[in-house]
């Protein structure tokens, strides 16, 4: 009996040991970002990468913010409206595809879904030509439009799966009370889908904020969002690595905050990518 208990404690130690080891692996980059960010210019030394700062200095953040602030603003101007528009479109599509099945609706839905898996390199040349033709290449508006359109598959999917969970009887009951399609949406479906909206808003915010490919071909230096600006900063020989690190932390902050505050909803969006909501 006691050997069994010893074995049990050993297993527990092993389990927690492994978990702590993995935790260190996952937190290592954040540790380096934070300690480097708060060092003073004088103590920045690649050979002391892991050392704690001697105090809290904001030199690196001020330098990074100085360079990246306009791009951070560009990102927010892009991402906030695009995620709101995306979620509205997704909600309407999801409502129709879950509650108003029509002929070939499953096939059409699947064809739409395929759009979220394609490598965007396969549509990049026409996209750039088309945006040029519309006069939108280089503008935030153009990039916003692109995020909304290529967001249709995932937002439709998340909302459709979400609405599948609303029993059709509830809608039928509303119908008996005299509501038409819009009434049903306005008074039953929409109020029930607030959590769905949170999931989609967070997901689209993160996707558009973290995008690099569309941004790098569709914007110019005045409209670069933060990912493009940060990559250029990191490739620069002039900007010091500690400023790059502070910039990386700054760039990660908005989505990181959302994750910390609303992690549960973020996870649900993530899982939708695996199709079976």
């Amino acid at each position: 009996m006691s050997t069994a208990r010893v074995q049990h404690s050993l297993t527990r130690i092993l389990i927690y040991g492994l978990l702590i080891l993995m935790t260190m692996f996952f937190l290592m980059p954040i540790y380096v970002l934070v300690v480097t960010g708060f060092k003073s210019f004088a103590e920045v030394d690649l050979q002391r990468l892991w050392a704690l700062p001697s105090g809290i200095y904001f030199d690196n953040f001020i330098a990074a913010f100085d360079k990246l602030a306009p791009n951070l603003w560009n990102s927010l101007r892009l991402v906030i409206p695009s995620s709101i528009i995306s979620s509205m479109i997704g909600s309407i599509n999801g409502y129709v595809f879950s509650k108003y099945r029509f002929r070939y609706s499953n096939v059409i839905f699947t064809l739409i879904l395929f759009g979220m898996f394609i490598p965007y390199q396969s549509i990049l040349i026409p996209l750039v030509q088309f945006m040029e033709w519309l006069g939108l290449r280089g503008s935030i508006t153009g990039l916003l439009l692109v995020h909304v359109i290529y967001g249709i598959p995932i937002t439709t999917l998340i909302f459709r799966n979400y609405y599948e969970g609303i029993p059709t009887e509830v809608l039928e009951a509303g119908r008996i009370d005299g509501a038409d399609m819009f009434g049903l949406y306005r008074f039953i479906v929409f109020p029930l889908s607030i959590p769905g909206f949170v999931v989609v808003l967070i997901w689209q915010f993160t996707q558009a904020y973290n995008d690099f490919l569309f941004a790098v071909v569709l914007t110019r230096n005045t409209t670069w969002p933060i990912t493009v600006a940060l990559n250029n900063l990191a490739g620069s020989q002039i900007v010091q690595w500690n400023v790059q690190m502070a910039g990386a932390l700054l760039a990660a902050l908005p989505t990181l905050l959302i994750y910390i505050l609303l992690g549960k909803f973020f996870l649900r969006g993530l899982m939708a990518g695996a199709l079976k909501g």
Binding site: L46, L49, F102, V107, Q121, I152, L230, Q244, M271, A274
Partner: protein, 317 residues
Amino acid sequence: MSATPAAAPAAKTARRVHIPNSLETTERRIAIGLVVPSIIAIAIFVYGFIGWSVRVSVSKWTGLLADYTFVGLAHYIDLLSDRRFGIDVRNTAIFTVLFLIVCLAIGLMLAILLDQRIKGENLFRSIFLFPMAISFIVTGVVWRWLMNPATGSRISGINLIFDKLGLDFLINQWHLTSPPWGIAFVVIPAVWQMSGFTMALYLGGLRSISEDLREAARVDGASEFQIYRYIILPLLRPVTLSAVIILGHISLKIFDLIVAISQNNIALDVPGVYMWRTTFDGNNYGEGAAIGIFMLVTVAVLMVPYLVNNMKAESDI
């Protein structure tokens, strides 16, 4: 999250009873009208543009002005003998295989560990998942410094830790290891970012396996290891399939992470980066389009059967 199967027939009868046919037809028309703009947008921006890309890939177009002179499969044939494209394909193959194996292994391990009635499970789960919220560009920028290849008096990054711990044999050149193995080290940041997702998938799978099943096996005298080996792992196969498909298509498309880490180092090149460079820096539109279509085909081979299967499974309900 799907409607209960029992609800469906009941709903159908209800609709037939209460809704006049004409109204239902009108509503259906409005409903279709609401999704038509999205359908048209996808038809143009996905399918129309793919067709247009194919057209570009068989035309002469080099230079800033569009030139649709038909050249047949010339660009595709050129790619076959293109040294850089050869490196790209090899890199993608190495990256994809290692990324899948390591991600699945770590994801499954973390899920099993977290399934052992752990104190602070939520905290651990959040820590393993947070890299998913960060962009590949940020990940690349940080890991480039962690994977600093310098040695001797300029030693830094993870090598510095190995040095301090006396694990000198682990000190290496990381992503600057001589080709083709440099790309293998880029798998580390990719796993850092994506293994939490794999863990979440597996954890979802583990939680859906009923406790009764494990209990029954325990009563029959199975050890914990045997329970995992013979009962749980086989039941997780569908999860593994989903994970392979999701991770696989991400890895075939990998782009931002490579851009941020490699900073133009050709040894770490992948098709996604080559397409971008040759098209928008080199103005080789025809060749760029051919690479884009090549990427599409590799991803489609993986995704189409999965999507069709999903669709069929849903129609069966």
